[in-house]
């Protein structure tokens, strides 16, 4: 208990915890779970956007989309590395993803049927992610905090790019504007769900707040997101699909904010539990990539061993 108190004191002094520092097992486990989930989300998150790479309607957009999906892979890589500093291997985390033991963000279990979704994902999904992630740049665990700084920088670029894509659609023909509106209709509520259950129903929050892994509650972040996003929708000339949405000047300590309608928590839990439209397809795609790639990874390993053996043999001569 003395150790725990000392650890908490370090956290309270806003000192960063580093890989070789002693840490409570719960802290380590929470971080492994959270960073792993986060990494998996980046990896699975390549799929819904990857879906449109071969069909992007202009070469400029195609290149931007490729670069974006590549960035997501890159985020996955930093995050797996950050998790590895806590003593878990990438392979182990991958197995947990594929077996369904580890989760990833439910937002990626929605399909991307139209090109407009490439804009909406950038704007709303990356926007919500940033809202969640900016506080993580000050997370108490050093490697995670540093990874997040890099991730957040790239994500805001993606968000602007997505918004810009929607501007093009909204300045285009009626079909294009309709496509954008339809896309927002489909993604608005799932984006709000990205902040997780209401604070009252959130299981991991309290301890995480204390350890400064988390710094704001789900509902606080969700409110911030709504307040930031609704005016952007207005600028696009699009409607947010919430009939109960209205400006409330009392909110946010009198600075004003939006009241919003009730979230469909039945849908939320259905998707979290693996029964969203794309859950099975996503895991199947990842499993296929992993299984089909096994011979490649084996060959790379075998080659490295052969090469090392040859070098040893040469050195011995």
């Amino acid at each position: 208990e003395e150790f725990l108190a000392a650890f908490q004191a370090r956290i309270d002094r806003e000192e960063k915890i580093e890989p070789n520092d002693p840490m409570p097992e719960g802290y380590r486990k929470t971080l492994i779970r959270q960073i792993g989930q986060h990494a998996h989300s980046e990896i699975v998150g390549m799929l819904p956007e990857g879906n449109w790479i071969t069909r992007a309607p202009s070469l400029r957009r195609k290149a931007a989309l490729l670069a974006k999906v590549q960035d997501e892979g890159g985020h996955g890589l930093y995050l797996y590395s950050a998790a590895e500093t806590l003593g878990v291997s990438r392979e182990q985390m991958t197995e947990e993803l594929l077996s369904g033991k580890a989760k990833y963000s439910s937002i990626f279990n929605y399909p991307t049927p139209t090109w407009a979704d490439m804009g909406t994902i950038g704007w709303l999904v990356d926007g919500a992610a940033i809202m969640n992630q900016i506080p993580l740049c000050r997370c108490s665990y050093g490697p995670y905090a540093r990874a997040m700084i890099r991730v957040c920088k790239e994500e805001s670029f993606h968000q602007r790019q997505g918004y810009e894509l929607l501007i093009s659609l909204c300045n285009g023909t009626k079909e294009q504007k309709d496509m954008a509106q339809d896309s927002i209709n489909r993604w608005w509520w799932p984006s709000l769900m990205m902040f997780g259950p209401h604070d009252a129903d959130s299981s991991h929050s309290e301890q995480s707040m204390k350890w400064k892994i988390k710094r704001f509650s789900n509902d606080e972040l969700r409110q911030k997101f709504i307040d930031a996003t609704v005016p952007q929708a207005e600028y696009l000339g699009l409607t947010v699909p919430d009939p109960d949405l209205k400006w409330n000047p009392e909110k946010n300590n009198g600075k004003g904010g939006y009241d919003h309608g009730e979230i469909n928590w039945v849908e939320f839990w259905q998707v979290v539990k693996g029964h969203g439209q794309m859950n099975r397809d996503r895991i199947k795609a990842r499993k296929k990539a992993w299984n089909d790639g096994e011979w490649v990874r084996d060959a790379a390993l075998a080659h490295a061993e052969k090469r090392a053996a040859r070098q040893t043999a040469q050195a011995a001569e």
């Binding site: 069909r55 309607p57 070469l59 093009s168 285009g172 023909t173 011979w295 490649v296 080659h303």
Partner: protein, 250 residues
């Protein structure tokens, strides 16, 4: 003149676009995460080069067609890419070998194009030559790893070599248009790059324990728009949005 240059640029642009398309199909499905970063990189390089080439082709043509009109709005028989680049990905061995074969040709091609009489070509070449050197390295390393890896990987590499080598010859073929541009010093002579290609590939194959088969019957046809059956499906995807929503900007 400008007709020949336009056509020769389409040959180049289509090669890069279609190869970039193929390698981009891997995105999110690579055998390891590092390759989920490396393959989009190669796709970006190829597609990036195609954009510069098409833009210039549009200028040369002088009919106001931009990169997207050239990339998206032609019919199957009007694409001039060589057959090599349109071949399906099959497995990772095929994909890496295809990238190697293509970049082992394009690297010396762009190298030679650095002394083109045409300033735009020199500009495109300056950027592309470095990218192609990286593709040779990256794909070449994989060919070596897989060729000298496990029994399984060696078998797959050999199959890829057997299957793709007949498509190499077309890289060296000079169409009348390409010849005209070479005669005018605008684009390199493809024929002249054979020795360099052989050198690059032989060097890698040597380490990969692979042999380059002799090809008695090379596969030709792409330059005259005689594509294989996979090409139509590739184009159906590539063009779908542009075709379904004609005349819009994105």
């Amino acid at each position: 003149m400008s007709v020949a240059l336009f056509n020769a640029l389409l040959e180049l642009g289509d090669d890069h676009l279609i190869l970039g398309h193929r390698v981009s199909e891997w995105c999110g499905h690579a055998p390891l995460l590092e390759e989920d970063l490396a393959m989009p990189n190669m796709a970006l390089d190829n597609i990036g080069a195609s954009r510069n080439i098409y833009t210039y082709a549009g200028e040369v043509e002088g009919k106001g067609r931009d990169e997207d009109q050239l990339a998206y709005l032609r019919l199957d028989r009007e694409y001039k890419n060589c057959l090599l680049v349109e071949r399906p990905n099959e497995d990772f061995a095929h994909t890496m070998l295809k990238q190697l074969y293509f970049s082992a040709f394009m690297e010396p091609y762009w190298q030679a194009a650095l002394s083109s009489s045409d300033e735009t070509i020199r500009g495109i070449a300056g950027k592309a030559v470095k990218e192609m050197a990286y593709h040779i390295r990256h794909a070449g390393e994989w060919v070596i790893r897989l060729g000298d890896g496990t029994e399984e990987s060696a078998k797959r590499m050999k199959e890829a070599v057997e299957e793709l080598t007949p498509y190499v010859e077309e890289l060296f073929v000079m169409s009348a248009d390409a010849q005209e541009c070479a005669d005018d010093g605008i684009l390199p002579d493809r024929e002249a790059l054979r020795a360099q290609w052989n050198q690059t590939v032989a060097n890698i194959f040597d380490q990969a324990l692979l042999e380059l088969p002799e090809v008695k019957y090379p596969q030709l046809g792409g330059r005259t728009g005689h594509h294989g059956e996979e090409m139509g499906f590739l184009l159906a995807e590539l063009q779908y949005v542009q075709r379904a929503y004609p005349g819009m900007s994105w």
